[in-house]
Symmetry: C4
Subunit: 357 residues, 4 copies
C-alpha cells in the first residue's frame, strides 16, 4: 500500500494511524495505566533538556553506527517488543520485520507470528523478548527457539506479568480477535492456581509464578546469548543482576502501561549509567518520538533507544514500508541533531551537549 | 441496583456519580473554598512523586494487612467522616456501612443515621468522628454513644467548625432537604451567643465555643478509645497533643473545603512522621484517587489513608455495592503498585520506592 | 440599587461588573501593559505560598484591627488610589467613599470628584495620592487641599507618570467621556515641552518634569502628614527614602499597567521588610482577591493591603453598597483564615503560618 | 499602503500579517523544527526574568544610542538576516531597507534583491549575512560585494546549512515561487556530491562542504570588516573563535528552525558574556517581541538584539512603513522600560534590574 502524504514526523504517523486503525485496537495500543501520568512524565523528562549546537567540527564521513552486544548496527534506534502485530496488519510481525532495516527488531513472546517465520523474512537481526514461564522447561523451549532462529540477544521482561488491561482498552471492549494469538505460548502450562495472600487472585497466581533472583542465575546458565533485563529501575537491583553475568538493561515503563506513576526512564538513566559503568548495555525505551529525543537519551548514557507504539503506527499506516519510513524519519532527525551538535559519531554525544531547561 | 458499566477507576466513579446525583447536592459534595486551589495543590503533591519498580522480590503470600490502633485491617484504605450520606442514597450511612468491607468506616457527628443503627449493619469496624460540643455533657454523650456502639477509635475534628458553605453550594442554592438531618445532635444546646471580637458574628460564637488545649486533656481522660486529631498541620502542635496521650493525627484539608490555600497533607507528611516517630498513627486524607496515591502516602509515612468524596460517589452510583466496588478498585490498584514495586507488605513501602519528579 | 444575587467572592464581583460596565470602560479598567504577564506573575506569587492551619488557639475576642500611621483601622484592607470613579458610577468617588467602611479610601489626584466633597461623605478616613506636579506650587496646592480635607496620609506615586494606555483600552477606543475629569488638576500648568533626549517626545517631557531625590526631601519638609512612596521596588532606594524621613512604601505594579514584566510585589516583600525594619509602613497592592491573599501578604511582612480594580467592580455592580459588600467579603475571608490559622490578631500572622508550594 | 488600525504591539502585527500573507508563505515563515519546542523555550526564558522599577533617577536627556562595531546606532534593535523578503512584498528587501530607520538591516545571502540595490535605498547601515560557499572564490565574491556595497559588518552563519524545511512548510506545499530567488548565489557552484558517511545524502554533501576552523582563520584574513558568528552556543567554541580575531557572536536558534530542542539564547547569554568579556559583541536573536524583552537581553549581557519574523510581519502588513512602525513600537517600549527602571542609557541596564520569577 502506498504511504499517505504528509508524513514528516512521528507525530504525523500517530495521527495517520489513529485514522486507520480500528478504535478498539487503538484503545489497546494507546491505553496506559490510570490517567496516563507516566507517559506525560516521560515527555516532560525529554523537554527538560535542551541541546547545544556546535558548528565547525569536522563531520565528514560521520555516521550513526553502533557496536552493541556483538552487533554492528547502522543506527541506535531499535524496535522494542510489542505483542500482536497482527492486530494492525494482516501479516503482523512479518511485515514489521521486512521494514526493520539495518537495526534490531525484538520479537515478543506475545508475537502473533512465530519467530522462525519472522527470521526468514527479517531485514535485520532479531532479538527475542522473553517472559519467564511458570515451568522452566517452557522457558527453555522459548530460549532454544530464539537461539535456533538466530536471535542475537534476549530481553527478559521482569515486571509486566502484572500489567493489567488499560481503562481505555476495557472501555472500548477490546479483545484479541479470533485469528490473532500468542503463538509462542501454544501448549504451555498456565501458571498454577495459588492460594492465600493477595486479595486479587491474579496477583496470587502471578507472584507464585514470578521469577526470582535464583531464576536470573539459572537463565544466565542456559544460554550464551546476551541477556538484558527490562523492568528494573533501581541501581542496587541492576548492580546485583550484572554481578550474575547479565549484559544490560532496558529502562522502560512499558509505555506507561504497567506501574501507574512510574518514574521516567530518562530521569533514571544518568545514575544507572554511573553505577553500571561503560561495559554494560543500557537501552532506553519510552516516548522517544524525535531524533532530538534519541540524542538526549544517548547524551545521558543510553547505548541505544527502543521504539514501541510508533512501530505499529508505521505498520498500520504503511505496512513494511511504513515501518521503514518511520525509522528513516528518526534516523535522519538523529543525524541532523548530530550534525548541528557537532558530533560525527554516537560516541561524541555526551552530557556536555545538553543544558537543563 | 446493578452497577453501570465501565467503572474501572475512581475517576470513572466520579463521572458516573455526577450524572446521577442531584446538581445541588453535587455542588455541595464537590464544592471547595474559594477557587479550589487546595484541591489542585493536593493533586500536584501526589504527581510530584514517581514510583520506582522493583522486580524479582519474593512476593508470595503478600498482603495489604495493617495493624492500627488495635485493629487488624485487611487494607489501609478507610472511609473518612462525611456528613449526610442520606443526600445521595435513601438508606444513607446504612448502605455505606454495608459496603465498607474489611476496613473502617468513620461515622460523622453529622451523619444522617444514628451510629447504633449503623453499627448493626456494618460490615467492618466503625470509628466515630467527634465535633466537640459547646457543653461538655453533650460531648460526653456523643463519646458514650460511640463507645456503646463499639466504635474502635474517635477522630476529633478540630478545625472545621469554621468551614463555610462553598461558593458552589451557595450558587446552587443547596440546602439540607427535609428528612435528612444530623441525628446525633438532636436536642443539643447550640453554641451560646458571644459578643465582642470578630466582625463576623458566627466567628465570635464559634471561637467562644471552640475547644482549647484544656479540652484535649479532658477528652483524653474521658475515654479509653484511641483518640486522633483531625485538622492539625504543624509539628509543634502535634507533638504537644501527643504529649497529652493522644494516639495520632489525620492530616487533611477536608477536601479543600476549610482553609482556602491550605497546604497539601502529603507535603506535610514526612516532617510530621519524623516528629512523631513510628508509634503514633498518622492518616492521610485528601485527593487519594488511585492505588499509586495510597502507595505514595504510605511511602512518605502514613499508616493508612482515608477516602472522602469517592465514598459518596460509590454510594450514589451503586449503593452498598458501589462503595464496596470503589474500595475494591483502590485495593487492587494498591496491590498492583506493591507487586510492581516489590513490596510484599505495607511495611516494605518506604521512601526509597519514590523519586521526585 | 439592590445587589444582584450570587456575589460570594471577588471573582463573582468581577464577573458581575463585566456584565454591567461599558465595554470600553471595562477595557480601560482591566487593561494592562503588553500581554498581561505582570498580573499573571502576581497571581502566581500568591499561589506559591500555602497556609498552615492551627486549631486549639484561644481566639476569643479576636479581631483584625491595625494601628497604622496614626490610624486605628478595623481591618487591614484599604482602597488604593484609582482615578475616574465617575466612569462606572454617576456619583463616582462619593459613592465609593460612602461604602468604604472602617478603613481608608485613598483619593487619587485623578479623581473625578474633589477631595473636599469626598471628605464630606466619607465613611472612614481618607488618604490622598499625589502625583508630583511640574510646578512645586501646584504640588503644594494639592498637599494643602489634602491637609484641609483631613487626609491622614499621602501616597506619592513615583513611577506611573510613564504609564501608557493599555493595548486593550486603545483597541476599544476608550476615551475619558465628557463630564468626567481629573478635577484636582484644573488650571494646573502642564509639563513644559522638553527637547533632546528620548525618541518618544512624551518621555522627554515626562523625564524633564519627573521628581528626583531632592523633591523627596522637599516634600518631606512641606507637610507633617505621613508620606508613603508608591512605585519603588529596590531595597536600596527604599532605605534611602526612609533616611529622608519618609514613613513607608506601597509595593505595587499598578495592577500590571505600568512596567511590562514587572516583579510581583509579594516576591519583593520579605526582603523589603527585612531592610526597613518593623517601624516603617509597607503596604502591598496588586492582585489581592481573597482573604487568604491578605493573610499571605501580612504573613510575609505587609502591614496592610490595598485593593484596586475590585473597588470599581463593587462600585459598578452596586454603588456604595457594592463597595461595602466587596470589603465585607474580604474581611470575613481574612477572619476565617485567621481563625483557621490560629491567629487572634494580625500581629500573630507570621511567616511560620505559610509553607512553600 | 496605509497601516490597518489597532497595531499597538508586535503581537498585533503578527495577527495582522497572518490575515494578509499567503498561507503557504505564512507556513514557511512561522514554521519551526519538530513541534516548535525551541520557540516555546525561548519565550519561557524571557518570562523567567521580572523587571524591577526604579523611580527618582535623573533621566533627562536619556537615550537608547549604542556604539557597536564602529557604528553609532540610535537604538539596539537590529534586523536579523531573513531570506526572500520578496515572498511578502513585491519590492522585497528594498522596502524593508527603506523602513529600517536608524538601525542596521542585515542582508541575507538568500535575499531576493541584490545588496547593491538595497544599499542604494537603505535608510540606515547594512550588514551582510554570509553562508560560507563550497568554493572559496564564491565566498570571496560575496565578501567583496558586501564591502563594495559598504556593508559595515559580516555575520557568518555557521549552523543553518543543515536547516531543513519545517513540517508546516512541507504540509502547506510551500515552494519558492517563480520570480523570487536568491540572487546573490546566481552562478555559484553547488556543493559537490560527497559519498560515504551519513545516511542522508544531503548531510554527506553538506558536511563535506561545511566550513571548519581553518575557514574561520581564512575568513578573518580576507576582510577588515567586523566578523560575527551566528550559530554557536558553547563558551569554549566562542573563546576559540575570538582568539582568531573575530569580533563577536549572534546567539540564535534561527527562530527555532534549525536544531530541534535547541537551548534558548537568553539562557546561554550570561555565561557567554562572562567568558568573552566586555570587548566582544554579543547579539541576541530569537523571540524578542517587546521592549521588556530587549531590556532583559541587554540586562543579561547583550549589546543589541536582532528581530527576525516581525520584520516580515511589518513588511507584509505595511511595506516600508510597517517595518518602520514595528521598530518604533519596540523602540518606544524599550524606552518606557528604561524610564521605569531608572536607566538613562543602555549602559545603565544591568542584571540588578532583574529578579528571577
Amino acid at each position: 500500500m502506498p504511504l499517505p502524504p504528509h508524513l514528516y514526523t512521528l507525530a504525523d504517523y500517530a495521527r495517520a494511524a489513529q485514522a486507520r486503525i480500528d478504535p478498539a485496537v487503538w484503545a489497546w495500543l494507546e491505553g496506559a495505566s490510570g490517567d496516563g501520568a507516566a507517559r506525560r512524565r516521560e515527555e516532560a523528562s525529554f523537554a527538560a533538556h535542551a541541546l547545544l549546537n556546535r558548528p565547525l567540527a569536522d563531520l565528514r564521513g560521520g555516521h550513526t553506527r553502533r557496536r552493541l552486544l556483538g552487533l554492528e548496527l547502522a543506527h541506535p534506534v531499535m524496535l522494542s517488543p510489542l505483542g500482536y502485530h497482527g492486530l494492525v496488519h494482516p501479516e503482523g510481525e512479518l511485515a514489521t520485520a521486512r521494514g526493520c532495516l539495518e537495526t534490531v527488531m525484538t520479537v515478543s513472546t506475545m508475537a502473533s507470528q512465530p519467530i522462525e517465520a519472522i527470521a526468514q523474512v527479517a531485514a535485520g537481526p532479531l532479538w527475542f523478548q522473553l517472559y519467564v514461564q511458570p515451568r522452566r522447561e517452557d522457558t527453555l523451549r522459548l530460549i532454544r527457539r530464539a537461539e535456533a532462529a538466530e536471535a542475537r540477544a534476549i530481553i527478559v521482561t521482569l515486571d509486566t506479568p502484572a500489567q493489567p488491561a488499560s481503562p481505555q482498552a476495557l472501555r472500548a471492549g477490546f479483545a484479541i480477535p479470533r485469528g490473532v494469538e500468542a503463538v509462542h505460548l501454544s501448549g504451555f502450562a498456565p501458571a498454577p492456581e495459588a492460594s492465600g495472600g493477595w486479595y486479587n487472585p491474579a496477583l496470587s497466581r502471578l507472584t507464585a509464578a514470578a521469577p526470582g533472583w535464583d531464576d536470573m542465575a539459572w537463565l544466565r546458565d542456559q544460554t550464551d546469548l546476551p541477556l538484558l533485563a527490562k523492568g528494573m529501575s533501581r541501581v542496587d537491583d541492576a548492580a546485583r543482576l550484572m554481578a550474575l553475568g547479565w549484559d544490560g538493561l532496558v529502562l522502560s515503563t512499558h509505555g506507561g502501561r504497567a506501574m501507574e506513576g512510574a518514574a521516567a526512564p530518562l530521569t533514571l538513566l544518568p545514575a544507572m549509567r554511573a553505577a553500571l559503568g561503560a561495559d554494560r548495555a543500557i537501552l532506553l525505551d519510552g516516548s522517544v518520538r524525535t531524533g532530538a529525543d534519541v540524542f538526549r537519551a544517548l547524551a545521558l548514557g543510553a547505548d541505544a533507544v527502543m521504539i514501541g507504539r510508533p512501530q505499529l503506527h508505521g505498520l498500520g499506516v504503511g505496512g513494511a514500508l511504513g515501518v521503514a519510513h518511520m525509522l528513516k524519519i528518526l534516523r535522519e532527525e538523529l543525524e541532523l541533531a548530530m550534525v548541528l551538535a557537532g558530533c560525527a559519531t554516537l560516541d561524541a554525544i555526551g552530557p556536555d551537549a545538553l543544558i537543563g531547561g
